[in-house]
């Protein structure tokens, strides 16, 4: 296992001879995080896999334009988020808990790649009732513990607005879950 050092990786990315090997380390390092980000939005594993592959292909094709002003993680999260939103838009799943998401949420119970119980399904239903922006913010903060500053760079939204979004999201989820009990 090679130690991941982002400064060295960025240096290697600028050299054509070492670029591919450096990118391989990036893929290895970020796959799990990006998988979770995408999976929480689209729910299905196969679709997540497709989006993840597209994300890395886009990153690879545009790696020469990465100047290192932002963190690599921010850049990759941004591409993954865009790819996810494009996918959801194509599938008409951008609105909160529409037919598409409803169908996927029902299927979660029988999904081999969903480890949660009935309570977790209820939580996912509550999350997917949120408007898409609040859903994104909630997932990044709640599951990935991402800082608001990083989120701000990814979503292009101010920290204040993100805090408000998360606050509203939590209130709505709690309300929804309480109504079930």
């Amino acid at each position: 296992m090679v130690n991941y050092n982002e400064a060295i990786i960025i240096e290697q990315l600028r050299n054509k001879a070492t670029q591919r090997e450096a990118f391989s380390q990036i893929v290895n390092h970020y796959t799990k995080q990006l998988y979770q980000q995408v999976r929480h939005l689209v729910l299905d594993h196969d679709q997540t896999n497709d989006i993840l592959q597209n994300t890395f292909i886009k990153a690879w094709l545009n790696i020469d334009y990465f100047r290192g002003d932002a963190k690599l993680s921010t850049w990759l999260y941004k591409i993954a988020l865009n790819e996810s939103l494009i996918f959801l838009k194509k599938e008409n799943r951008t609105t909160s808990l529409d037919e598409g998401d409803g169908q996927y949420l029902t299927q979660l119970k029988s999904d081999s790649y969903f480890s949660g119980d009935q309570a977790q399904i209820q939580l996912q239903k509550a999350i997917h009732q949120l408007p898409s922006k609040q859903r994104i913010v909630f997932n990044l903060k709640y599951y990935q513990e991402m800082k608001y500053e990083a989120m701000s760079e990814i979503t292009g939204t101010t920290v204040g607005a993100l805090k408000a979004s998360y606050h509203h999201a939590v209130l709505k989820i709690k309300k929804h879950l309480e109504s079930l009990n």
Partner: protein, 121 residues
Amino acid sequence: MGKEEDYIKNRYGTESPFVAPDGYFESFTDHMMEMLPEKETPIVKINTRWTRIKPLLYMAAMFITLFLPIRYLVTSTKTDNTMTQTAASIKELSDEDIYYLSLNLDEYTFYEYVTDSDSNE
């Protein structure tokens, strides 16, 4: 955030319930790297004499392309002026002159005619 967030965390935890198939992450990088397209090698431009002369030749060709039609237009305008002048001088000829001219005279006969008419005056 506090109370509301704790309510959710205490009941549902923060661990993601979404999992991937066994060995998915382990094999993902290799699979992904195989999928990546090769980057195109940038084309290196060699600075030959031809590449240095080429812009000058293009400029010369452009100049000729622009110059020839303009020259043609100017020349044809001049020809028009000459023709107008000729028409004016024809107007000044008397009926008798026109008669002789209309006889399709050759150059010699014409000069003879002119000389005669001058000597008659």
